[in-house]
Symmetry: C2
Subunit: 338 residues, 2 copies
């Protein structure tokens, strides 16, 4: 149905179009790449490719442009893995090596990805789901308030102020802290809600109202973070790439919506390998017209969150996929090591 040369034609069309941003014609194609056939032959091939929906022409007297379907075929079968340059590998290492806390890792990862791919980078904070509770700390604040600090095995710190119904003495606080740590330390976050729910029975009735306030705060923290927050960066790249093609406005609006970002990363199919969503394949309405390259990353073997890049469908897929994969690996290493 599509012989080797037609596939090769499609491949070069994609590559040329990505690099030049101009529809590619049969003539330009033959002499830029040393194909040993004539333009007429290429035209015939193009006609077939167009008939099958892999390419299209913006107007009658113009060259061809890949369709979403064309990019899809390109990504699935035609593009090899583009190895990263030494400089790029070095950049990844040095960029991420200096990070010293989770916020910093995420922030740097965003910048790094944006810089490597010249696209918008999207990084999700590791979900707490796969972590263990490391420590719970209660710190009295002014009035009847406590600061609840929850430290996870992945080194993340969650904090929250709690309004208490009754005043608490330091001893009571210490006791509650001891109970919490005895029950929770080392347990999986996913198990924590169940454990916490069973705690009130083990306390004296007088201490319960305050304890319940603290417990519900813990539960809220756990629930809220069930899916990690997503941050993005490199919007400036969008402005450059999306000269007039896609609605810059809409894309920016979408990116500023947490819900959208989570869907963008979350609905990707296989978590471990690199996933590419092209144009209309995109789950987010309003981001049709853009492509997303994502993958999972995690501290150990577990995938705890996802990251990726977003850009116009006219994107350097091999490059983006290589960068995303490499960055995800490095981030995973760093998280596992700390």
């Amino acid at each position: 149905m599509l012989d080797d040369r037609k596939l090769e034609v499609l491949r070069t069309i994609v590559e040329d179009y990505v690099s030049t941003n101009e529809p590619v014609g049969s003539k330009a194609l033959v002499d830029r790449h040393s194909l040993d056939v004539s333009p007429a032959t290429i035209r015939n091939d193009m006609a077939i490719l167009e008939e099958q929906g892999y390419i299209t022409q913006p107007h009658t007297s113009a060259g061809r442009v890949p369709t979403d379907k064309g990019y899809r075929l390109f990504v699935d079968r035609l593009s090899g893995v583009k190895p990263l340059s030494v400089a790029e590998r070095r950049a990844i290492e040095t960029f991420l090596a200096g990070a010293y806390d989770l916020d910093d890792v995420v922030t740097r990862t965003v910048r790094l990805l944006a810089q490597l791919t010249r696209q918008v980078a999207v990084v999700q904070y590791p979900s707490l789901t796969r972590s263990a509770v490391r420590h719970v700390e209660l710190v009295p604040l002014a009035g009847r308030r406590l600061l609840l600090v929850l430290i996870t095995g992945s080194g993340h710190v969650e904090q929250r102020a709690v309004d208490l119904p009754d005043a608490m003495t330091d001893d009571e606080i210490a006791h509650l802290r001891a109970v919490l740590n005895a029950s929770l330390d080392g347990r999986w976050i996913t198990d924590a809600p169940r454990i916490v729910s069973s705690l009130p029975d083990r306390l004296e009735p007088a201490a319960r109202p305050n304890a319940v306030a603290v417990f519900s705060a813990i539960l809220e923290i756990l629930v809220e973070n069930h899916d990690g927050r997503v941050v993005f960066g490199g919007a400036a790249n969008l402005a450059a790439a999306a000269d007039l093609s896609i609605g810059l406005r809409e894309v920016l609006e979408a990116l500023e919506e947490q819900v959208v970002l989570i869907r963008l990363l979350g609905e990707a199919a296989e978590p471990a390998s690199v996933t590419v969503r092209i144009g209309a394949e995109n789950p987010v309405e309003g981001l049709r017209g853009t492509s997303v390259v994502t993958t999972g990353y995690g501290g150990g073997d577990q995938v705890v969150a996802r990251l990726g890049v977003l850009g116009p469908t006219r994107m350097d897929y091999p490059g983006a996929m290589a960068a995303v994969r490499a960055v995800a690996r490095y981030v995973s290493q760093i998280l596992a090591g700390s």
Copy 2:
């Protein structure tokens, strides 16, 4: 030099231009506002205003547009305070009321400001400088690592992993924790470095290497946060406003640089009142062509950080100033209360 009517003319030119985004001519001006003079008179006034550099015309046969100097005069002398609508006040309260930790307050403030002003919002995290140390927590991690958690009076939590030179027993950790809290709790952050530096003398020599590692981590946290991180949001508003006027690309690039953002907020003159920087007055090169409206906010009487909005010089200054001031007050209240 400039009589009342000329000032009034300038005022209406600014207002009309801001709302319509089109150069305003003498004719349009007289019948939109019920001035009881003829267009010819207005033209004479305009000629004077232009001569003095308050307005300019894009091309010969077009209306007038305010210059930076014109906006400056408008802001300084011609614009009253535009009171916020009831809906806006309500929005501020409800939007910020639900916030439960510092990250959340900042995030919501950004969204709120961006939404109210339809500009890019810029919010700085409160600097630690004006806070007291509330509590220091040490949590053993895997290997010879500690997680250092520093909780401040303003409810902020700083965290950092520390690599220890030697192994530490739980008792040693507890002792170090006790020493730290005894020395630091309730002290100003600004005093902390001096205090920490004096601590090693009070420890047994054997414990010093580990302690020093922890101490230097504390110092680093304090130094790093000397000026708070700055986040922005509402970039989508830029795309809408800056149709073709300012280089969207450059502005986005500038916004993604922490250093630039800090300068943007930091070099504003008076901390307590609302500051307006118009066009070329802007300290950041590459953000000439945009205006910035900022003010300080803080937990108590102290200004601990700044916030504001950024947009094209063609901006609704009274509205932006009102929104910035109101939001800053509410945020201050919230921080003071928690």
